[in-house]
């Protein structure tokens, strides 16, 4: 009896051997690939059936219970007030407008937290690797303490730590009569764009574009001849003239709305509410502890041989860091860094506890309470967090791909 080949044919019976034709969809019966395919198909069908059954059940129950469904509530007037509005929000704002404002608040908070957590995380991560035991010890203590205390407690701590020392509105800290700080927030001047500002902005944009083209030409010239264009500095200075001219012609179309004390509080200008400050501090400090560990692991992952080799060719410490350690470490760091950014986004939803008007507090809170449509509101909220998270992930992947290209 001749031995059967894995593809089911009998080798000795059919010389010369020709490989079986395999198309993607016609898997040979009984093969491992076929079994895997069959199992996956069955599981997929089961999951689909389960989801369909759940959906059917939910729909049947919603109908039976007379629950209003659908997203038409989004166009109904919301009527309530929000503490932090980065876009205009009138009396007739709909629930959808409220959603947009809350979403912006979440995104702004997350972006600020990511920025500061990254900066601080790099500093602490490097400090942990320092040869100075005091610096390394302090950094290690910071990481261990911050990582092991629940974020919610840290939020409350920072919120009341920010609030307590600040004075009331009438005893505000005064910065040159243009900015004020008290328990109600930080009050700063707000730019008012007058007619003609668009022209000025356009002029500036054009000049910046010209400047970029000039710099690029200069660089190309330098690559070809070894010397830069001599006149480039002079031309760059000339670029300043058109915007100044336009500004003078339009009568400087920018003024500042300076906050002033009236009644209970400052009016005018822009307010940075203490809830935002507390959230930004707490999230940044918390994220920094994790990012510090990511930085440390990234740098530790750089093979010592690479650094030895760099030293052997005579590179200086700064150059070694810039050209060898950081590019190599970045490859290791980027994927977990992306995960950490998404974690920060999700952690920002704790903001509701200290009255920062984010998606969770305003939309999944007040809107849910007022409309009594928890399914839809929660669905929109979850989809929003998922989409922002996916966007962060995609951005990091893009960056990661560019870093990986360095590999040869």
């Amino acid at each position: 009896m001749p031995a059967a080949t894995p593809d089911g044919g009998h080798a000795s019976l059919c010389p010369p051997y020709s490989p079986p034709r395999r198309s993607r969809f016609a898997l040979p019966h009984g093969s491992l690939a076929w079994r895997v395919f069959a199992i996956q198909a069955v599981v997929l069908v089961l999951i689909a059936a389960f989801l369909a059954w759940v959906a059917g059940n939910v729909i049947a129950n919603i109908t039976r219970l007379n629950i209003n469904t659908g997203f038409s509530f989004l166009s109904r007037p919301a009527g309530f007030e929000i503490a932090q509005k980065l876009i205009a929000f009138g009396e007739n704002a709909s629930y959808f407008d409220v959603f947009v404002i809350a979403l912006i608040n979440t995104v702004v908070l997350t972006a600020i937290a990511i920025l500061f957590a990254t900066l601080l995380g790099f500093v602490i991560g490097l400090a942990r690797l320092s040869s100075n035991p005091l610096v390394a010890g302090v950094a290690a203590a910071y990481v261990e303490i911050v990582r092991n205390v629940p974020l919610l407690l840290q939020l409350f701590y920072w919120y009341f730590a920010v609030l307590r020392p600040l004075p009331g509105p009438r005893q505000s800290l005064n910065f040159f009569d243009i900015a004020f700080l008290n328990k109600r927030g930080l009050f700063v001047p707000y730019p008012v764009f007058e007619p003609g500002f668009g022209v000025l902005l356009a002029t500036i944009a054009v000049m910046v574009l010209v400047g970029i083209v000039l710099a690029w030409m200069n660089q190309r010239h330098r690559m070809r001849t070894g010397t830069g264009l001599h006149s480039v500095r002079a031309i760059a200075l000339l670029l300043l003239i058109p915007p100044l001219l336009v500004a003078w012609l339009t009568g400087f179309p920018l003024s500042w709305d300076v906050p002033a004390l009236s009644g209970f509080n400052f009016s005018g200008g822009m307010t940075v509410i203490p809830e935002f400050v507390a959230m930004a501090i707490a999230l940044s400090l918390y994220g920094a502890a994790y990012i510090a560990e990511i930085v440390r692991s990234g740098i530790r992952a750089v093979p010592a041989g690479q650094i030895d080799a760099a030293r052997a060719v005579g590179l200086r410490r700064g150059a070694i860091n810039r050209f060898i350690v950081i590019p190599l470490a970045l490859r290791v760091m980027l994927p977990p860094l992306g995960t950490q950014y998404i974690v920060l986004l999700k952690n920002s939803s704790l903001a509701a506890a200290i009255a920062y008007p984010d998606l969770m507090l305003v939309f999944a809170g007040t809107v849910l309470n007022q409309t009594g449509q928890p399914f839809e509101v929660m669905l929109v909220t979850m989809a929003s967090y998922a989409l922002i998270g996916l966007a962060i992930g995609a951005a990091i992947n893009l960056l990661n791909r560019r870093v990986q290209l360095v590999e040869r």
């Binding site: 089961l46 999951i47 389960f50 059954w53 759940v54 059940n57 049947a60 129950n61 919603i62 039976r64 219970l65 007379n66 629950i67 209003n68 009527g79 309530f80 007030e81 929000i82 503490a83 009396e91 919120y159 009341f160 609030l163 307590r164 009331g168 328990k183 109600r184 009236s262 009644g263 209970f264 509080n265 009016s267 307010t271 509410i273 203490p274 809830e275 509701a352 506890a353 200290i354 009255a355 008007p357 507090l361 305003v362 999944a364 809170g365 007040t366 849910l368 309470n369 007022q370 409309t371 009594g372 928890p374």
Partner: protein
């Protein structure tokens, strides 16, 4: 795993969906109620780790009426956001909570309000030192508030209709709103007056604050049940009516045994002597007697009422 999940889900949906609530309760042996997590006077945990308060007592009275035992209750502390969904999905049988009866909550939610137990109203607390005499003086003020279904909307309506601007600081939780107000984050603190009175007791210096005279809203508060189960809705409604009737007739937990010998026809009817009103709702003849004698609501409700009165003082 998946099959387990499916079975669990099926069990959840089916019990909540198809069986009558009363049958489910009898089979399960407990009445499940959703109450506020922590509100002195209404639903709170005392120093012996026992849940107490007016809303909790209501739940115990229901258990006594249905099961003849006031301790056969399961009390779920629920915040506003979770309350409705938990009732809808069958997690609790009734919300004896502080939920205002509003159009949006009664219509299109699959839930029904049973009756109004009491009327609350939204008020404002300010530090005495501010020398504010009326809500109308709060133009431009920062106002701390805890999320509610109507709380934020009430302020918005009141201030907008008077062309007054204000800055709102909205918290999820009553205690955080009070703490922030206590720290000076806001010029005023607003909520239902019962909540201002109850939670205000925990301010650093309660005497330094005053509740302003205006009541800017009417908040009818009462229990909620699922729609389409009128038997259970009737049991909740008539148990409460029976308790109110008992108070009017002077029947309390202390004297109910004596009252059984009463010759007053109304009391006899109430206590199920010589008549069986319970059977129409699948209850025993002495359901109201059970509710009165086994739950302490008639004895204890005074604490809640006094809290309420402090609020409107």
């Amino acid at each position: 795993m998946k099959i387990l999940l499916a079975a669990a889900f099926a069990a959840l949906v089916c019990t909540s969906a198809h069986a009558a609530t009363l049958d489910t309760i009898k089979q399960r042996g407990t009445v499940n109620c959703g109450t506020a997590p922590n509100l002195p006077g209404f639903a709170y945990t005392d120093d012996k780790n026992v849940r107490r308060g007016f809303d909790v007592d209501l739940c115990r009275a229901l258990a006594a009426a249905v099961l003849g035992d006031a301790d056969k209750v399961q009390l779920s502390p629920l915040n506003l956001r979770d309350g409705f969904a938990t009732l809808t999905t069958g997690g609790v049988d009734v919300l004896t909570h502080r939920l205002t009866w509003t159009y949006n909550r009664d219509n299109g939610t699959g839930l029904d309000y049973v009756l109004t137990i009491y009327y609350d109203g939204q008020g404002f607390m300010v530090p005495k030192a501010m020398n504010v005499k009326s809500v109308n003086d709060l133009k431009g003020a920062s106002i701390c508030v805890a999320q509610g279904s109507t709380t934020e909307l009430n302020i918005a309506d009141y201030f907008r209709s008077r062309k007054m601007d204000y800055r709102i600081v909205t918290f999820q939780d009553l205690d955080e709103a009070r703490n922030a107000y206590d720290q000076g984050r806001c010029d005023a603190w607003t909520n239902d007056r019962s909540a201002l009175a109850a939670r205000g007791l925990q301010l650093k210096n309660r005497d330094a604050h005053v509740i302003l005279p205006e009541i800017i809203s009417k908040e009818p508060i009462g229990p909620l049940v699922r729609q389409n189960d009128s038997q259970w809705a009737h049991i909740v409604r008539w148990t409460l009516f029976a308790l109110i009737a008992a108070e009017e007739l002077g029947v309390t937990q202390a004297n109910v045994e004596e009252m059984k010998k009463s010759e007053v026809p109304e009391i006899k009817r109430l206590l199920g002597i010589g008549d069986d009103l319970g059977q129409k709702n699948g209850l025993s003849a002495d359901w109201a007697y059970q509710a009165i004698s086994r739950s302490e609501i008639t004895a204890r409700s005074s604490s809640a009422i006094s809290a309420r009165r402090r609020g409107s003082a």
